[in-house]
C-alpha cells in the first residue's frame, strides 16, 4: 500500500469501537436516568439528584486514584482501610486540640505515607501489588481500631461538618471536590509526562524501562496518588457523618475497582481514564439510588453491579478480539 493510499484510508473501524464503548456508557447512563425519571416521581427531583451526586462523590474520588494504579496493571486493595485510618486520625487530632487545617494536612500525610509503604513493598521488595496492598488493608484497619479502641471519635460541629451538607444549586460541595480531584487527575494523566509514563509502564514495563522511564518513580507516583485520594475520601467521610469511625470505608476498595473497570480500565494495564471512571462511579450509585426509589430489594443492587462488571468487561474483551 503506498503512502497516499494509506493516508486515504479512514481509521473508522478501530478507533470508533473504543469511543463507542465510552459513548455507550454515557448512553447507558442517560437511558437509565430517563427510565428512572419516567418510572418514579422522585428520581428527577432536585433533592434526589443532589443525593445521587453526593453519594457518588466519595467513591468517585477513591476510584480516580484506583484508576491510576490499575493502568499500571496493579491494584490497590488498601484504599477502604485508608479511608478509616485517615478519618479517625483526623478526628483524634481535632479532639486533642489540633487546629483543623493542620489536622487535615496530617491526615493527608498519613495517607501518603501508607501509599509510599505500598510502593516500597511493590517496587523494592518485589511483592505483587495484590499482596502488598492486601497486607496494608489489614494493617491500616487494625491501626484504626487500635487508635480508637474500637470507639467512634466525635468531631465538634463546625463549618467542616456543615460542609458536606452545602451545595451550589443542585451540586453538592462534596461533588465539587470530586470534580476538582477529577480535573487534577485528568491533567496529570493526560497532559503531563508522568501520566505518559503511567501508561507506558502498564503497557510494557520493560520497553518503558529501556526508553529511560523511571520505573520506581511510576510505582511511587500511582500508589501515592491512590492513597492520597483515599485520604481525601477519609476526610470527606468524617465531614459527612461528623465522627471518625474505625469501620468506615469497608468494601470501598471493591467499588473503586468496579467503577474503574466499568469506565474502561483494563486490569492487564495500559488502558483507562478519568472520565470513564466518573461515569462508572455514577452508574454504580445510580443503580443503588434507583433501586431504593423503585423499592427493589437492596440486595439486588450488588447482584446487578456484579453482572454489570462482567458484561462490560466481556464486551471490552470481545471488542479487542475483533480488532486484533
Amino acid at each position: 500500500m503506498s503512502l497516499t493510499e494509506a493516508k486515504a484510508l479512514k481509521p473508522r473501524r478501530q478507533l470508533d469501537l473504543k469511543a463507542l464503548m465510552q459513548l455507550s456508557l454515557v448512553a447507558l447512563l442517560l437511558v437509565v436516568w430517563t427510565a428512572l425519571s419516567l418510572s418514579t416521581s422522585t428520581f428527577a427531583t432536585e433533592g434526589n439528584i443532589t443525593n445521587l451526586l453526593r453519594q457518588t462523590a466519595i467513591g468517585g474520588v477513591l476510584a480516580i486514584g484506583q484508576t491510576f494504579v490499575i493502568i499500571t496493571a496493579g491494584i490497590d486493595l488498601s484504599v477502604g482501610s485508608l479511608v478509616a485510618v485517615t478519618g479517625v486520625s483526623l478526628a483524634l487530632m481535632v479532639s486533642h486540640g489540633v487546629p483543623l487545617p493542620l489536622a487535615i494536612l496530617g491526615a493527608l500525610l498519613i495517607g501518603m505515607v501508607a501509599g509510599m509503604i505500598n510502593a516500597f513493598a511493590i517496587h523494592r521488595m518485589g511483592l505483587p501489588p495484590f499482596i502488598a496492598t492486601l497486607a496494608m488493608l489489614s494493617v491500616a484497619r487494625g491501626s484504626a481500631l487500635l487508635l480508637t479502641g474500637g470507639q467512634s471519635i466525635s468531631m465538634p460541629t463546625s463549618g467542616f461538618t456543615r460542609f458536606s451538607t452545602t451545595s451550589v444549586w443542585i451540586v453538592p460541595s462534596l461533588f465539587l471536590v470530586l470534580l476538582l480531584v477529577a480535573a487534577i487527575g485528568w491533567v496529570l494523566l493526560h497532559r503531563t509526562r508522568w501520566g505518559r509514563y503511567v501508561f507506558a509502564y502498564g503497557s510494557n514495563k520493560e520497553a518503558a524501562r529501556l526508553s529511560g522511564v523511571n520505573i520506581g518513580g511510576v510505582v511511587f507516583f500511582v500508589y501515592g496518588f491512590s492513597a492520597l485520594c483515599a485520604a481525601i475520601g477519609g476526610i470527606l467521610v468524617v465531614s459527612r457523618i461528623g465522627v471518625g469511625v474505625p469501620t468506615a470505608g469497608t468494601g470501598y476498595e471493591l467499588d473503586s475497582i468496579a467503577a474503574s473497570v466499568i469506565g474502561g480500565a483494563s486490569l492487564f494495564g495500559g488502558e483507562g481514564g478519568v472520565f470513564g471512571t466518573i461515569l462508572g462511579a455514577l452508574l454504580i450509585t445510580t443503580i443503588s439510588n434507583g433501586a431504593n426509589l423503585l423499592n427493589v430489594d437492596p440486595f439486588w443492587q450488588q447482584i446487578i453491579t456484579g453482572l454489570l462488571i462482567a458484561v462490560i468487561v466481556f464486551l471490552d474483551q470481545w471488542r479487542k478480539r475483533r480488532e486484533g
Binding site: 481509521p11 478501530q14 503531563t192 505518559r196 518503558a208 524501562r209 526508553s211
Partner: protein, 488 residues
C-alpha cells in the same frame, strides 16, 4: 523410511519459508539438519510437531499419510521435540513432569508413590544421576534437558526432534546428552538433530541435510561430506545482489569499549567510528545481545566505555540515554514497544523527559515530532493514533528507530533488526542505516544473517561463546572464513 516429506511448502506474509521441501528420514537414523538462521529449520520443526500447518505437500509417517493438525496429534503418532529453551513445569517434581498427562491413576486419584518408583527406575535405567522426587527447579539446565528427553522416551516417542539442544548447556552437560542420544539410538529411536555445531553433527549423525533460504540444497550420508563443504553449502554464494553499499568516509572514533565482561561475555574490546557500521556476527549464545544490553545500561558489566573522549558513567539506562546511546533490541515486541499505545505515543516516549515543560506535555509538539518521523521513515499507517500492535513487523521496526531518532542518539545498536521483515522493508531499513551514517552517527549491527551483515558492515566482529574471535573487513574476507571463525 520412518518419515517422508514430499513437496512441503509454507508461506508467511512476506516470506516463502519452505520451498517444496523433500526430505526422507530413515528409521533408526540420526538425521542432522543444518542451515543459517532464517533457512527454515524452525518452520520445518513446527510443521513436524503440529504447531503449524503446511500449505501444500504430503507427510508420510510409517508409510501412512499424516495430517499433523496439532501437537497432540503429532505426539500420538510418536513425534516429539526438545527445544533450545527447556519447556517444563518448574515447580513440579521430576516424576510429576515425566508423567504429566499420563498419570497412573485409579478412579481419578493419582498414585504418586507408584509413579515416583517407576520414574526412578526409568531414570536409573537411562543412567542419569537424578532423583525422581526432586523439584525440577533444583536441577541444572542440562539436567532439565535430560528430563525432557526422558519424558519423550517414556511416551514411546519414535521420532525425536532435537532443536539445538546444547545451545545453553555446558560442555559436560552436552556430553551427558550425547551419551543419552547414543543409548536411545541403540534402542531404536530415530532422531532429527538440528545444530550449528560441527563437532556434534560429525560425532552423532549418519545423515545430513542442508537447508538454505527455505530449500534443501543437499541431503546425504554424513560420511560423504567434509566440514568445509558443509560450511560452503550453508553460506551460499548469493550475497544480497540488490543492496549496494555506499562508501562513506569514516570519521573519528565515537565509542571505544575496553575489556567488557559480564554475564554471557568476556573481555570484549572494540572501537566504532562516526559514520561507520560495525557488524557483530556469531551464533546463538555468542554473547552479542548481552554486550549491547550492557552498553545500553540495561545490564551490569565491568570494563570501560569511552565516548567522545569521556569515560562513560555506566550506571543505568537513563545515563546511557543521556550519553546518546540507543538500543533497538532483538525482541521488538516485548522490549521496545508499548503495543497497546498509539504510534504517536511510542515515537515520543524517550523524549518526554527532555521536551515537557514543567512536566506538561504539548500535544502539538507530540504531533509534530511524530509527523516528522513518520514522513522521514515512511511509516505506513492511516493515522498516528493507531495502536502500534496493528502495524506490520517492518513498520513496527520503523517506529522503534523513529523514537530513537527523535531522541537524538548518535550511537545506534541494532540487534537483529530485519528478522521477520519482508524484502522491500529490509531495503528501507538498510537505507535508514545509510541515512544515519550520512548524519555521522555510528551503528553497531548484530545480525545472524551472514549475507546481510557482510553486505552492510564496514568492519565485522565475530564472536563465539562470549569472546571476540575475529575482526575482519567483509569486503576482502570470504563467507566460509567468517563462518569457520563463528563455528570454531
Amino acid at each position: 523410511m520412518l518419515l517422508e516429506l514430499r513437496e512441503i511448502d509454507k508461506r508467511f506474509p512476506g516470506t516463502h519459508a519452505l520451498k517444496s521441501i523433500n526430505l526422507a528420514v530413515e528409521q533408526g537414523s540420526v538425521h542432522a539438519i543444518v542451515g543459517e538462521n532464517g533457512a527454515g529449520k524452525s518452520t520445518l520443526i513446527k510443521i513436524l510437531t503440529g504447531v503449524y500447518r503446511r500449505d501444500s505437500g504430503q507427510i508420510l509417517f510409517d508409510g501412512q499419510a499424516a495430517e499433523l493438525e496439532s501437537p497432540l496429534q503429532a505426539q500420538k503418532l510418536g513425534i516429539d521435540a526438545v527445544h533450545q529453551e527447556v519447556v517444563v513445569c518448574r515447580s513440579l517434581s521430576v516424576a510429576e513432569n515425566l508423567f504429566l498427562g499420563i498419570e497412573r491413576s485409579k478412579a481419578g486419584l493419582v498414585n504418586q508413590r507408584q509413579m515416583d518408583a517407576e520414574a526412578q527406575a526409568f531414570l536409573d535405567d537411562l543412567g542419569f544421576n537424578i532423583s525422581a522426587r526432586s523439584p525440577l527447579s533444583q536441577l541444572s539446565v542440562g539436567q532439565q534437558q535430560l528430563v525432557v528427553c526422558a519424558k519423550a522416551v517414556l511416551r514411546g516417542t519414535r521420532l525425536l526432534i532435537l532443536d539445538e539442544p546444547t545451545a545453553f548447556l555446558s560442555t559436560q552437560e552436552a556430553e551427558q546428552l550425547e551419551k543419552l542420544i547414543r543409548r536411545l539410538h541403540v534402542q531404536g529411536t530415530t532422531f532429527v538433530y538440528i545444530s550449528h555445531r560441527m563437532e556434534e553433527i560429525f560425532n552423532l549423525s549418519d545423515t545430513v541435510t542442508v537447508l538454505r533460504d527455505g530449500a534443501v540444497v543437499h541431503s546425504g550420508p554424513t560420511a560423504g561430506v567434509t566440514r568445509e563443504r558443509l560450511v560452503s553449502l550453508m553460506a551460499g554464494r548469493d550475497i544480497e545482489q540488490f543492496y549496494h553499499k555506499e562508501q562513506m568516509p569514516r570519521g573519528g572514533p565515537l565509542l571505544s569499549a575496553a575489556h567488557l565482561s559480564g554475564k554471557g561475555f568476556d573481555d570484549v574490546s572494540f572501537t566504532v567510528h562516526q559514520g561507520e557500521i560495525l557488524g557483530f556476527f556469531g551464533l546463538v549464545g555468542a554473547g552479542r545481545s548481552e554486550v549491547m544490553m550492557s552498553i545500553a545500561g540495561a545490564r551490569p558489566f565491568s570494563g570501560e566505555l569511552i565516548k567522545a573522549g569521556r569515560k562513560l558513567n555506566t550506571s543505568g539506562v537513563k545515563a546511557a540515554l543521556r550519553d546518546g546511546v540507543a538500543l533497538i533490541p532483538e525482541d521488538r515486541r516485548n522490549q521496545s514497544l508499548c503495543l497497546s499505545q498509539s504510534i504517536k505515543f511510542n515515537l515520543n516516549l524517550p523524549t518526554y523527559d527532555r521536551d515537557s515543560r514543567g512536566g506538561f506535555v504539548s500535544d502539538a509538539e507530540e504531533q509534530r515530532s511524530a509527523q516528522v518521523q513518520r514522513d522521514s521513515l515512511q511509516i505506513k499507517t492511516p493515522s498516528l493514533e493507531m495502536p502500534v500492535r496493528k502495524l506490520s513487523g517492518g513498520n513496527q521496526q520503523k517506529v522503534v528507530i523513529g523514537k530513537w531518532l527523535n531522541h537524538g542518539a548518535d550511537l545506534f545498536m541494532f540487534d537483529e533488526p530485519t528478522t521477520g521483515v519482508d524484502i522491500p522493508t529490509k531495503l528501507e531499513i538498510y537505507r535508514l542505516f545509510s541515512t544515519l551514517v550520512k548524519q555521522n552517527k555510528a551503528i553497531l549491527l548484530v545480525s545472524s544473517y551472514l549475507p546481510e551483515v557482510m553486505a552492510i558492515s564496514d568492519r565485522l566482529i565475530i564472536m563465539r561463546r562470549g569472546r571476540v574471535v575475529g575482526e575482519v573487513d567483509p569486503a576482502v574476507t570470504s563467507p566460509e572464513e567468517i563462518l569457520r571463525l563463528a563455528l570454531g
